[in-house]
């Protein structure tokens, strides 16, 4: 199974992902089943209006999870930047087994759920990661 985080998906597993894709598409296609975690849920008609932007065929998708900020502390194009402090903190604290354990307890095991983690981080920290400017693309016409 592969888990991917995308900008938007419908309830059927059709999802759009954009930005530097890295190994995202290959990782999804290599798996038999994919868990899609989406920043936003969109109606199917709006997703399928751009089939080139669809990341993988929906028949491989086992589930879609709506989880805003789900890529944190990694970046998501158009949504939020990388939280450098999280990486620096992990690097500083995980050098010993005890340090790693303390980090794990605080940041992974203690929060009740993802919104719980976001609550610990606080709205100011998250707001600071938002894009400073919008960069929309041109709409496409798939007219036939």
């Amino acid at each position: 199974m592969t888990i991917v985080h995308v900008q938007r998906a419908d309830a059927l597993g059709h999802c759009h992902a954009w930005g530097p894709l890295g190994v995202t598409r290959e990782a999804a296609l290599a798996a038999r089943r994919v868990l899609v975690v989406a920043e936003e849920i969109w109606p199917t008609g709006r997703i399928l209006a751009d089939p080139n932007l669809v990341l993988l065929p929906a028949f491989k998708v086992a589930a879609v999870v709506h989880e805003p900020w789900g890529a944190f502390p990694s970046p998501l194009q158009g949504c939020y930047g990388r939280d450098h402090a999280s990486f620096a903190q992990y690097h500083a604290e995980s050098g010993t087994p005890a340090g790693f354990r303390a980090w794990l307890d605080r940041w992974v095991l203690a929060p009740r759920d993802w919104p719980g983690l976001l609550g610990v981080l606080g709205p100011e920290r998250l707001a600071g990661l938002r894009p400073r400017r919008r960069l929309p693309s041109e709409p496409l016409d798939y007219g036939a």
Binding site: G19, P20, G22, P75, G81, R82, P131, R132
Partner: protein, 228 residues
Amino acid sequence: MRLPILALALAQRTHAPAALGLFENGLVRAAPADLDGTLYTMSDPPNVAGALWSTTTANIMGLLEQGGVDLGFIGGAEVDRYGNLNTSYVGDPRQPRVRLPGSGGGADIACLSRRVVIIMPQARHRFVERVGYRTSPGHGDGPGWRERVGLPGGGPATLITTLGVFRFDEQSKEAVLASYHPGQSVDTLRAATGWSVRVAPDVRETPVPTDAELALVRACDPERVWTR
């Protein structure tokens, strides 16, 4: 910006305006990202704006595999006299003292670029006679090795460190000290290298950046994260 991104930005703004940057995450850029702050990684969202292509790692590696990359940058935890790099294990690979991140795109870049520049902090324990694990091959065991194992591309040309610059000899394929940075000397470089390093007959102090070059570097790293 991290050093290779910063070096590319400097090159594009000075002696190599036509240089294209290929990033492992799928980006191709003709000019540095327009920044409002510090670019820490190639995947920071500002690196996409103005990109010539945003695609997959596989496509970038495909270009590399076709022989399309003139210059690759890599670094490592350990390097040896033939420019082989270790980013996998410190100690016995079967029971390592430290497990490092591994190759990433490093092995691909080391094998398939037409020329490689290695960038590393220098310390004696990292500049070893023979790397404990050959993650990214340079000139292997020495002259003829790359040809014997079927690696295209020229391998490492230059090793740039925090203390000096080494160039790989065309014949012997080993790193030869070409220059020592201001504040260093041939003696300090020998002391910081874990093999008996050859020194170029015309070894000299590394030229310092011009004021214009320094201004460009500062503009790319305003918070002095990667530079001093």
